[in-house]
């Protein structure tokens, strides 16, 4: 395995980790506010569909992204109305959103495009273009650093850079601002927030709106990457992001690490269709299943003890 191959795998890692990272951060904001968000998968799918559809019709991926965000935020609000306003069970409302998105995208897709639930392929100009960072071409020939910069760091779409920038930004918001303090507090002890004279309901809605926007970006990225929407194209990425969130112990920087790890596994699975170890051939299916296997391992609690936000999953009922 030479240097360039490694760089190509890592490059693909970053690409594949982008939607995971955006979705994971979405879950982070929601769960840190005490709203368990199992509906990430559905929001991702809904966003991918509407982003793909609008991008195809308008020919503009940015309009598509806006539509994707709209779809995701709408589903977030549905989750909010059910679980915050009416104090329903957050898990059930999240699962409902997943089913809703899985069904609606196909039905509406069929009604609009008559292609069996998928959108037509997006032409190149209706997708995100790669951004070449300054001087990438000039220093590409510099040994070691050149390819690293040109191959790995440069040449991603705008949303990848947005996702990467969202990590420190999320950290700063959570730990350095008034909003972040209150958000973290409402996920730990909403009673403390309420008695301090702050509206628990408002804070939690703000949190899920942020989650909706981030998830919408993730879905739009998927639509652009796959050049259109295909039935069930999120392929469990919402759940993988959730697993990454647990692995990251609900913290922004570890979330980056966790999603990169999942991205790496996916990248390896994509590149090496089968690996020969002596006489044994590892089948391609196993390679592609790697991210899902890791998800199971993490969710089964094999990796350390992750303490979730204490008030997670509970609707807040005013009491003395």
């Amino acid at each position: 395995m030479d240097y360039l191959t490694i760089l190509q795998i890592l490059d693909s890692t970053v690409r594949l980790a982008t939607p995971l990272l955006l979705t994971c951060l979405a879950g982070l904001f929601s769960e840190r506010a005490g709203i368990v968000d199992i509906g990430l998968e559905g929001k991702l799918l809904g966003a991918a569909f509407l982003a793909g559809a609008v991008a195809y019709v308008t020919g503009n991926i940015w309009l598509g992204t806006l539509a994707g965000i709209g779809a995701s935020v709408l589903l977030s609000l549905l989750h909010g109305v059910a679980s915050i306003t009416f104090r329903g069970d957050q898990l059930i409302s999240g699962v409902a959103i997943n089913f809703l998105a899985a069904g609606l995208t196909v039905v509406i897709g069929q009604a609009w495009f008559k292609l069996g639930g998928r959108t037509p392929s997006l032409p190149r100009e209706a997708r995100f273009g790669d951004i070449t960072l300054p001087f990438a071409d000039q220093i590409a020939d510099v040994p070691l650093i050149g390819p690293l910069y040109a191959e790995l760091l440069s040449g991603h779409t705008a949303l990848t850079y947005v996702a990467l920038a969202a990590v420190p930004l999320s950290w700063w918001v959570l730990y350095r601002t008034r909003f972040g303090l209150r958000l973290r507090a409402v996920g730990e002890n909403p009673g403390a927030v309420d008695t301090a004279g702050i509206s628990v309901v408002k804070l939690r809605y703000q949190a899920i709106l942020i989650a909706g926007v981030l998830c919408g970006l993730g879905g739009s990225f998927l639509a652009s990457l796959a050049a259109g929407f295909v039935k069930d194209m999120s392929a469990g990425r919402g759940y993988i992001a959730l697993a990454a969130l647990i692995f990251a112990k609900w913290k922004p920087y570890p979330a980056l690490g966790a999603t990169l790890l999942f991205g790496l596994l996916e990248a390896i699975g994509n590149r090496y269709q089968s690996i020969k170890l002596g006489d044994i051939t590892i089948p391609v299916q196993l390679m592609q299943a790697l991210p899902y296997i890791l998800t199971v391992v993490i969710l089964a609690g094999f990796i350390g003890k992750a303490i979730p936000p204490r008030a997670g999953g509970q609707a807040y009922v005013k009491e003395r």
């Binding site: 350095r176 303090l181 507090a185 730990e188 002890n189 403390a192 309420d194 301090a196 702050i198």
Partner: protein, 532 residues
């Protein structure tokens, strides 16, 4: 009355007016609040003078908490007026209460456990969108306040690592940071050691000297008598009296609370201890996290005596009761009437313990003593299902026999409502406890384990429960009493053992000790010093 001040101008002003009217810190007029058919507050009127400590007492369900919740904006009163400093205010939520200068220290603290002290203090009272300026301002203010009022806490400590007493200080500091002039404390000493409680009262005195008004809600008459200037008594949603504490007595207040004369002292004759019933040797318990909860307990208990276990909650008393009750494994040895008890946790359970003559009134009657959704008559036979008198034949239980038994118990223990079909959850705390007590005591056990017998129980029912315990002792039973209420331990026990951190710190006779000495032992100091 004209108060003489340094400034002559005020004096002249006072001489013009017939009497200087200092507005009350709080004045409530005609506050009423109903929850469905239940009227929790009926036309409440109360005046709290500025710079005083004003106590509010009443039994459970008397409406104290509802009233304070209205004052702190948790509930909206159906009718009535709230005046702060003579000005009518409209309190719609907690933030308007805070704006009106009211701070509240809840019985169950409203703190974010994995936040630092500083973060908890500024939460909701930040100066701007960024935290840094607020944090440094709070740090400075915290230093001033801790010097002024003995309110020292480490600003950077995580709240979950603080003792309960310190957590309570954080709550007080939170209120002071919001510039509260009126501080409401709801049952503040329930979780404190006597020394911590004394410290709290010193803090409150200091705040009072600075002109703050303090409302103290408690059911402990002794605290009311010690620290308050005035006291208001509530009964069944009504304000029955407001008196100057100095002009009243504990007996009078108790009578006002209950509506009839109450014996505050338990009447009992000296114990006549007989043979040793229970002998505990080197008892150890290690919990699931590998923490040793009991570290070698040695105790013995004779027939006809009450051994009181004093201690702050969480020092191993619960584990001791659970081992004896048969649902926790332990090592060491326990002899019950000379024969060893199984401590493996495998072959032991409540049933086999009961067969050995051990009855158990558990600490938590909701989780362990009753099945709340089941009717009283079923609850009355739990744990004694195997009793032949409850069986119709080999297959079926005799419901009529159980119901008759339940009816008898309801009558003898004066359980209200006197309806054995009422689900356990619909009884008041005191009556629930009487159901458990009736079930266990009427078995005439050789040993009664009883944990927190009067937690959440009204003062009238407390008197009855104490009488029943003493009567059982006089009939020759050995009684192991665990309570965090030192008053209760002092008045019921024939011998007192103090537990701290899984150990017995020592034994005392109630007539030869006092709360101060026991309090120091409860805090882990085995040799009380002259001036600690």
């Amino acid at each position: 009355m004209v108060t003489r001040t340094a400034e002559g101008r005020q004096e002249t002003a006072a001489s013009f007016a017939p009497a200087p009217t200092v507005p009350y810190a709080i004045e409530l007029k005609g506050i009423s609040k109903s929850f469905g058919p239940v009227q929790a507050n009926k036309n409440i009127a109360i005046k709290v003078a500025k710079g005083t400590i004003h106590g509010i007492i009443g039994e459970n369900g008397a409406g104290k908490s509802t009233l304070m919740s209205i004052l702190y904006g948790f509930y909206k009163a159906d009718s009535g007026v709230i005046e702060i400093d003579g000005k009518r205010v409209n309190i719609t939520d907690s933030s308007s209460a805070i704006a009106a200068g009211i701070g509240m220290v809840f019985q169950h603290f409203k703190l974010v456990e994995n936040f630092t002290v500083l973060e908890n203090i500024i939460l909701g009272a930040e100066d701007g969108p960024l935290l840094r300026p607020s944090l440094s301002k709070a740090r400075k203010l915290l230093r001033e306040l801790s010097d002024e009022y003995e309110l020292s806490v480490d600003p950077d400590a995580l709240v979950e690592n603080l003792s309960v007493g310190h957590q309570q200080r954080v709550e007080i500091l939170k209120a002071l940071y919001r510039q509260a002039d009126i501080l409401i404390l709801d049952e503040p000493t329930g979780v404190l050691t006597p020394a911590e409680a004394d410290h709290l009262f010193r803090i409150l005195e200091g705040l009072k000297t600075q002109g703050k008004t303090i409302i103290l809600i408690t059911h402990k008459l002794r605290e009311i008598m010690e620290v308050t200037d005035n006291v208001s008594v509530m009964r069944r949603g009504e304000m029955v009296a407001t008196v100057k504490t100095a002009d009243s007595s504990a007996e009078e207040l108790a009578e006002l609370m209950v509506g009839r004369k109450v014996l505050l002292q338990v009447e009992k004759t000296p114990a006549v201890p007989q043979d040793v019933v229970l002998d505990i040797k080197g008892l150890r318990v290690v919990d699931g996290h590998g923490v040793e909860r009991l570290r070698g307990i040695d105790l013995h208990l004779r027939a006809g005596e009450i051994l009181g276990i004093a201690g702050v909650a969480g020092n191993g008393q619960t584990e001791l009761l659970e081992v004896l009750g048969g649902y926790m494994a332990a090592s060491g040895e326990i002899l019950m009437q000379g024969a060893p008890l199984d401590l493996s946790g495998d072959a032991s359970d409540g049933q086999t313990r009961r067969a050995r003559g051990i009855a158990h009134v558990p600490e938590d009657r909701h989780d362990e003593g009753l099945i709340l959704d089941f009717p009283a008559w079923e609850n009355v036979c739990f744990g004694y299902h195997g009793d032949p008198k409850y069986q119709k034949n080999a297959l079926f239980m005799d419901h009529k026999a159980i119901r008759d038994d339940a009816k008898g118990k309801i009558e003898r223990f004066d359980i209200r409502p006197a309806n054995c079909d009422t689900p356990a959850k619909s009884f008041s705390g005191g009556n629930q406890q009487k159901i458990v007590l009736a079930r266990e005591i009427e078995r005439e056990p050789a040993l009664l384990l009883i944990g927190q017998p009067t937690r959440g129980v009204d003062i009238g029912a407390i008197e009855f429960i104490h009488q029943q315990i003493v009567a059982l002792r006089d009939r020759g039973a050995a009684i192991l009493l665990v309570s965090v209420e030192l008053d209760e331990i002092m008045s019921l026990s024939d011998r007192i053992a103090v537990m701290f951190d899984g150990r017995i710190m020592g034994e005392k006779l109630p007539q030869e000790t006092n709360e101060r000495e026991l309090g120091l032992m409860m805090a882990g100091m085995s040799t009380p010093q002259k001036d600690a």
